[in-house]
Amino acid sequence: MELLLYTALFAPLVGSLFAALFGASPKTLVTGVVTSLLLGVSLVASTILLIFVITSGQFVHVEMMTWITAGDLYIPFGFIVDQISVTMMMVVTLVSTVVHVYAIGYMDHDKGFNRFFSWLSAFVFSMMVLVMSDNFAGLFIGWEGVGLCSWGLIGFWYQKESATWAANEAFIMNRIADLGMLIGIFLIYWNTGTLQYHEAFAAMPALENATLVWIGIFLFVGAMGKSAQFPLHTWLADAMEGPTPVSALIHAATMVTAGVYLVIRSHELYALIPNVGLFIASLGAFVAIFAASMALVNRDIKRVIAYSTLSQLGYMFVAAGLGAYWVALFHLMAHAFFKALLFLGAGNVMHAMDSELDPFKMGGLGKKMKVTMIMMTLASVALAGIYPFAGFFSKDLILEAAFVEQHYIIYTVLLVTAGLTAFYSFRIIALIFHGEERYKLFGFHPHEAYKFMLVAMSPLLLLAIIAGSFKLSYFEMVTNLLPAIEYHIHHPLTYWVITLGTQLFVIAAIFFAYKKYMSKSVKVPDGTSAMEKSFFYKLLINQYYIPRFYEEYLVKPYRELSCVFWKHVDQKVVDATVDGIANVIYITGENSREMQSGNLSTMLKWMVAGLVALLSLAVVFGLATRHSDKIMLILSGLGV
């Protein structure tokens, strides 16, 4: 089993290094193939591990070698395959294998083909480290590793200013969160003396509540960054500058869910601090509706999907926050499948449309790209949570959990969000595939993607449809580790009312979207319509003005302050002081060298003056000693 574990872990790394060898050379198909194959190996290994874990109910735990030791600190490279991590491994390897294969086609004409696969495999490796590590430090390695790869992939087209900007934004925002994570790790170490999961969690119940709260908060701050929770969410939408497979893999299926994974992994901690859990849930709910609202009007298909991801992450946090860890994990998994599918579909569309992203410039593509249309529609259905697709099982559970836990506000918010989700998903479906063929106005010649790309997508499609049926077996598996709380609304009537009501609401939203956006009157918005002038539209299209707020009130001041620090503080104060001291000394010399006039008379005068000065001092001193008692009297009178 250890060998399998190492295979699963290191196969992507090997692939990445292999591809890196050709990094600077022009496209060689072999890199794509090799990396994909290696990922396949990894997938197989993960699958075997999954089966092993399910069947035996045991963990695979290895300690490869020591990493850091200093003082009492001991951090090994330790890896664990348990129910949680194996789930994640499955998701990661599966989606990434699909994406790799897909990308061979998608990146076909790109000059950076080899580089792309190197980065992509490196990402997978980092992600595997993240999920498989048996300690927080190892998690942090993966955590930063995925951040790095995300940076490299978002900025993959580095000639584009917007891409590199987005890459840096993503990295820096993640770093902000990572600081929180780091602090959380420090707290854990100084309070439990270890960073190993099982030891640390074992020690936690003995700690003070306040400490635990702090640990919980700081770790969650870390999670917020990776999972793009408010207020660190802006990077995710901008990250869509990267190639679409990247968005599918990183910004939908895997990396962004790392935050959720962290919370699930730390469930023993969060179970001790329900208040923090509630906060997480509330924030999740807020982000869910907040992101969904922004998705409503956006005119960039990838961004819409990105907001959707954000929104779904909100769902997951709600579940995790409310203690329904297994539900969160389940939704994470299901979401990974259909969201990746959605992205890849969007990738097909982009490919067809020469990277055009505005759905208003498309329309009627369904005729040219039937398979893609079907796939995307099904994925959207899954996303919307229609029975019997994957989304229904996972998302519905979250709603139920919220209901059962009697957090009705959260429940309501999530319910509304579900409606919004359905609306915006089908808004773009309608805009892209149905209605007038507006693309002709812009001179596009769309075509369907390569066959093998579509084939590659098919496992995802399958899973998006059927993943819900694994619910029970899944439940059995993960509840070996996670608290086995079943969320049943005991009153059957209520159950049915809620379930059916939700379904109807969602379907209504879908119809509304179709009705609104399939009509022939849909035009490319030109900023003249009443809606576009409305306050809400502006608010939403500008993402609540948050990016601008950041730009105006954080980025710019930072840049200006930096300049002030450099040009004014550092040069004009600190350095000028140093130079000033030197200059004062020098100028004193320059000015007083006149003393040495070279005239003998002056020199003699100086000598006499020196003598007189000494004599005066002598007299003063003589008087002072003779009258020292009187002087003291005067001084004491003055209060000295």
Binding site: S592, Q596, L611
Partner: protein, 502 residues
């Protein structure tokens, strides 16, 4: 009627006179030779001088041996006083002279070294200095001082060009004023105590508990003026830069070392007992003078355009630095004074010698002085070895370890620390930093700039002959490997100083 005086020859301890008499005899010999045959080559005189200096060294060693056995020796009606200070100072005087005198053997001919009188006067001067340090009688000190000074004025003037005369006249006139100060100061102490021997003055003053403090202060002031003049303490220093610039580099180097050590010994004898007896005023005054001398001279040195003038100011600063030893007045500080001055002597003489071998007969183009910084620009490209050696001396003067002067500074600052003068120690340290700048300036010119005036490296060694190279080599080796010798030298000095009761 007066009784006839019976004096036994043994009680006179005539051998105490031997070290001083040897150079005087040598000088007379040179004069006699000159009478019989003039126009003899300078090498002869140089060698005669060296022989006599070596004999002198031997005589000093002899007295050192006796001192080591029997302690302080008084001789010739107790006028002569041979103690550790006297021995050490004489060793430095003669040693530095030995380094100096071969500098006469330059490639080009310079006026003073071409005449036998120069060597005769030089030896007379040494005799004067040796008398000064080997007595505590103010009369003998005064006469010795004047003998040597008058000879020195002439030596400077014998360089025979306008600047040299100007320097000599300035030095002479101010020296005359200082002589007035000295005699007035001595008079006041005589009035106070009825004696002009420092140990008796000390005894009497201590006995009556410094009753006439006013007189003491006036006397000290005048003596400080006189001694400070010779030691170039600010504000009595004004002669120093001009005189250094006016005289030949070799003479300037000599002047920066030998006269000063003689005066340091006098200052130690004169002032330390006063400070130890609690004349706070003197402590304060010396403190101020030391600090001002160090600092002001450093600051002026910063702005100089001529290397020799810079070295003049730097010598002033070093003198101020060392004067701190007198202020501190512990055995350690007094030992530090000698250690410092020994190390300083070859470093500084080495530096001046480097200037000396680069001396040209005429001023460089568009320059108003012999050794402007510009002259040395880019030296490393044209004369790398010479530049390196010069740089070495500069580093040593700046107190960069492990070169010679660092150890002196170290021990001196340590003595300030141990003596309880914390702030002084800091000021000394900071002054070393300021001093770093101007020494560095020369290094910058030599190593980091391109040549301006001299594109031909030969200029820098135009005066070099084997003897000069040897001297410089000796100084350089001494500067680099000083750390090997520090321990024996320090032990020797400390033993002598301690045994003399300082």
């Amino acid at each position: 009627m007066l009784e006839p005086v019976n004096v036994s020859l043994e009680s006179l301890n005539l051998m105490t006179l031997a070290p001083m008499l040897i150079p005087i005899i040598g000088a007379l010999l040179i004069l006699i030779i000159d009478i019989f045959k003039s126009d003899l080559d300078k090498t002869l005189y140089v060698m005669i001088s060296i022989i006599f200096l070596l004999m002198d060294l031997g005589a000093i060693a002899q007295t050192a041996g006796i001192f080591n056995e029997s302690g302080t020796i008084m001789g010739v009606f107790d006028v002569m006083l041979i103690d550790g200070l006297a021995i050490l100072a004489q060793l430095i005087i003669v040693g530095a002279s030995l380094l100096f005198i071969p500098l006469a053997l330059t490639h080009s001919r310079f006026h003073e070294f071409s005449y036998s009188e120069f060597f005769a006067l030089f030896l007379f001067m040494l005799g004067g200095f040796q008398f000064m340090v080997a007595t505590d009688n103010l009369i003998l000190i005064f006469v010795g001082l004047e003998t040597s000074s008058l000879a020195l004025y002439t030596l400077i003037a014998m360089h025979n060009r306008d600047k040299a005369f100007e320097a000599a006249v300035k030095y002479f006139t101010m020296g005359a004023l200082a002589a007035g100060f000295f005699s007035f100061g001595a008079m006041v102490f005589y009035a106070l105590t009825g004696s002009i021997e420092i140990n008796q003055i000390a005894t009497v003053l201590t006995e009556n508990g410094f009753a006439d403090m006013g007189f003491v202060l006036v006397g000290t002031t005048f003596l400080l003026g006189a001694i400070g003049f010779k030691l170039s303490l600010v504000p009595f220093h004004t002669w120093a830069p001009d005189v250094y610039e006016g005289s030949s580099a070799a003479t300037a180097g000599f002047m920066s070392i030998v006269p000063k050590i003689a005066l340091f010994v006098v200052a130690m004898r004169m002032f330390e007992f006063l400070i130890h007896s609690g004349v706070v005023w003197l402590e304060i005054i010396l403190y101020i003078v030391v600090v001002v001398t160090m600092t002001a001279a450093n600051i002026w040195a910063l702005v100089q355009n001529d290397v020799k003038r810079m070295l003049a100011y730097s010598s002033i600063s070093h003198a101020g630095f060392v004067m701190a030893a007198v202020l501190i007045g512990t055995t350690q500080s007094n030992s530090a004074l000698f250690l410092y001055w020994i190390l300083f002597s070859f470093t500084n003489l080495g530096a001046f010698s480097m200037l000396w071998i680069s001396r040209q007969k005429h001023l460089p183009l568009h320059q108003s002085s012999d050794h402007s910084y510009n002259k040395f620009a880019g030296m490393v490209q044209t004369a790398p070895v010479a530049a390196t050696i010069m740089g070495l001396f500069m580093l040593s003067l700046a107190g960069i370890p492990p070169f010679a002067l660092f150890w002196g500074k170290l021990y001196m600052i340590s003595s300030a620390v141990s003596g309880g003068y914390t702030v002084l120690a800091l000021i000394m340290a900071l002054n070393s930093a300021i001093a770093g700048y101007y020494y560095l300036k020369l290094i910058v010119f030599m190593f980091m700039r391109d040549p301006v005036i001299n594109k031909d490296g030969h200029v820098f060694v135009s005066n070099a002959t084997h003897p000069l190279r040897t001297i410089i080599g000796f100084a350089a080796v001494g500067t680099i490997f000083a750390f090997v010798a520090i321990n024996p030298v320090l032990e020797f000095i400390t033993a002598l100083v301690f045994k003399s009761g300082y």
